[in-house]
């Protein structure tokens, strides 16, 4: 059962548009119109994707006033992607890049000061 559910989640995640929809929903609930805006895909096509995501338990849909909102269901996604730790990755990669930049800046600095030291004493003309 559990593996069936997991494969449903993976199947739903296999499509790039559906992954992009989920990424958008991490920022908050959205209507079909809002979800289809960034994609070159029709609203009915988005609706089909939403159905797949709903069946996999990755989203739920709620009616608010006259609009129907898709809501990210974090738990199944977390079960499938717990190992991703994206927040950590964001900062680890950033800090690794900063490390490299600092090394580069220090190399430049020491080159500059060395360049000055290497300059021959000014000779009076």
């Amino acid at each position: 059962m559990a593996s069936d559910q997991l494969s449903g989640v993976f199947g739903a995640l296999a499509d790039p548009t559906r992954r992009a929809i989920l990424a958008r929903l991490t920022a908050g609930d959205a209507t079909v119109g809002e979800l289809s805006a960034p994609f070159h895909v029709s609203q009915p096509a988005i609706s089909r994707h939403l159905r797949v995501l709903e069946e996999a338990g990755l989203i739920s849909r709620r009616r608010r006033a006259t609009a129907r909102y898709s809501h990210l269901e974090a738990e199944p996604l977390r079960a499938a992607t717990a190992w991703l730790a994206s927040y950590r990755e964001f900062w680890e990669e950033s800090h690794d890049r900063l490390d490299a930049l600092l090394a580069e800046l220090q190399a430049q600095q020491s080159q500059e000061t060395q360049g000055k030291e290497d300059q021959p004493e000014e000779r009076p003309k």
Binding site: R19, F90, W91, E93, S94, R97, Q106
Partner: protein, 180 residues
């Protein structure tokens, strides 16, 4: 003189039930240089965020009451923007304190304090974020920033491909798709 610190690691502490995230990292560079890398827009865009994203700094008014707004965009033009206000005069000694809000999740503001401490020519950077609720804090860690999620999804792609390959390799040719 440029030594890259291979063992350097980012520590992310988020004690359950609290509203804080503490991010700590040691850099092999003097404090002045690390401070410049954190505050100079030209340097900041060179390291903040994953390398596949382009960072744009719309404003970075480094003074008490000054505003900041950063945008991270991918190759397809998908953008994630963040903004806030500096509180107190940013300085090497006192650090940098600012509010932080992801524009995709408006109304959920956190307070960030960055401090830099130099020890034996190395600098420990410590960023403390305090969220408005435990839920906000957990949400930030679980979903990551939008960009982080996308990146995670790419990794998921690789995992799926690997799982599929493994399944094909281990399964007998008479496929058991019919559950028997």
């Amino acid at each position: 003189m440029a030594t890259t610190n291979k063992t350097a690691k980012t520590e992310i502490a988020a004690e359950p039930g609290t509203q804080r995230i503490v991010i700590t990292r040691e850099f092999s560079a003097p404090r002045e240089l690390v401070y410049r890398a954190y505050t100079d827009p030209e340097l900041l865009t060179q390291w903040m965020g994953p390398s596949r994203l382009t960072m744009t700094i719309e404003r970075n008014e480094l003074r008490d009451g000054g505003r900041w707004r950063f945008i991270h965009s991918d190759a397809d033009g998908v953008e994630a923007a963040f903004h806030g206000v500096f509180h107190g005069e940013p300085s090497l000694e006192g650090g940098v304190t600012r509010t932080f809000e992801f524009e995709g999740y408006p109304g959920h503001v956190s307070l960030e304090t960055l401090t830099l401490e130099e020890r034996d020519g190395k600098t420990v950077s410590r960023a403390i974020s305090v969220f408005q609720s435990v839920e906000d804090r957990d949400g930030m860690i679980a979903s990551g920033m939008e960009s982080g999620v996308n990146e995670g999804m790419e990794k998921l792609d690789e995992l799926l491909a690997r799982l599929q390959a493994e399944r094909q390799a281990t399964q007998p040719s008479s496929t058991s798709k019919g559950d028997r």
